[in-house]
Symmetry: C2
Subunit: 225 residues, 2 copies
């Protein structure tokens, strides 16, 4: 049993890499190419950093293959994700940020706040288990609720579904959805799924129809309602 004492405060770069590996691969192996593009960094930089992360015992790295998180790396990544999602929720609920702006601000803040701050915010918010995008917030103990959802793009026509989560964080997509009220909690009826291009048409609770491009529809996660 290796107790992760987390001696040195990790640099923010390190955290960004860990989150990226986590986001890309979860428990699996993240390819350097994907890290490179997600972090907007050259592949040379990725190679270098993966080496260092292995040094630090945060990832398992094999040349030409990619990296996966160690237990310690995984815990650290989840800690950051928790921070990020709590901060997002806070920005939205207490500072009145628009939905699509919270991500960027949280991205910077999550590297500056202490655990103390994080837990005080969690308390202020009443320990929410979802962030504004519907993403689950890991617990302070490093557990992450398993979620049972499917992409809207794969929903059977005629089904009533509830939006559980929007798996995007780029402002334009979020603004688009927000403007149409397509936010977590909203209940929809699937009207049509065009096989050709994957465009999904849904009807909302007010009887208004909305068309979502294939990529976007795939990132909207729903539950049967």
């Amino acid at each position: 049993m290796v107790e992760p004492t987390m001696s040195q405060p990790l640099s923010s770069s390190v955290g960004d890499y860990l989150k990226a590996v986590w986001g890309l691969a979860g428990h699996g192996v993240a390819a350097p190419k994907d890290l490179s593009s997600r972090l907007s960094v050259s592949s040379a930089s990725v190679t270098e950093m993966l080496r260092r992360l292995q040094e630090l015992g945060l990832v398992e790295y094999e040349r030409y293959r990619g990296a996966s998180l160690t237990e310690e790396g995984h815990a650290e990544a989840l800690r950051l994700v928790r921070r990020h999602r709590l901060i997002e929720t806070f920005l939205l609920e207490h500072l009145g940020y628009p939905w699509e702006e919270v991500h960027e601000e949280a991205e910077r803040l999550e590297h500056a706040v202490s655990d103390n701050f994080t837990e005080r915010v969690a308390q202020l918010l009443g320990h929410p288990d979802r962030d504004p995008h519907g993403a689950p917030i890991p617990g302070a103990d490093g557990t992450l609720a398993r979620e049972d959802s499917r992409p809207l793009s794969g929903a059977p026509v005629g089904d009533r579904v509830r939006i559980l989560r929007v798996g995007r964080e780029d402002a334009p997509a979020l603004a688009y959805l927000e403007a149409r009220g397509l936010v977590p909690g909203r209940v929809l009826r699937v009207e049509e799924v065009r096989a050709l291009d994957g465009v999904v048409t849904v009807e909302d609770e007010d009887g208004v129809s909305h068309a979502l491009g294939g990529v976007l529809a795939a990132s909207v996660l729903v539950q049967g309602s």
Copy 2:
């Protein structure tokens, strides 16, 4: 008229130096030695950084003498001070931080938050003009209220005074004062000022007496009441 376009977001180190010059010298010249000790950095580092700051047009620097802020540097320093003090106030009032812990957390946060964040916090707080230590909060327009106060150490015996501000930010001193209720707003009667060591004895509104060491008394700023 040089319009300070503030192109690149300045690194947090740069900001720390600017704040230090401002805190040490205001509009005057800050000595490298003082910067070195305030920032806990070698004097070689100070020399190097002052050079860079001059490059950036943020300070006027003369070798072997020290640095003073340019107009632009001064504005930038005040912007940071505003952030810092607003964040402190927020931590105290909304997250329940103890008085003596806010400084350290704010120190890290002030480099991560955007102007947008800052102004939203200001609004949430109702645009306060003093932080929890009683220090004036510079306006968004870069103005700083002039304050009319004297150190408690120089108050005439018998005077009734009100604590306006506590000019310290180290946790032990703040905890000491907090524990005795010697916080901004409190009204005191000066009972004795010992010439020998500068120890000041005051009586608070509840009739309780407190003795303050010379150094501490000098950092408690008061107004005639």
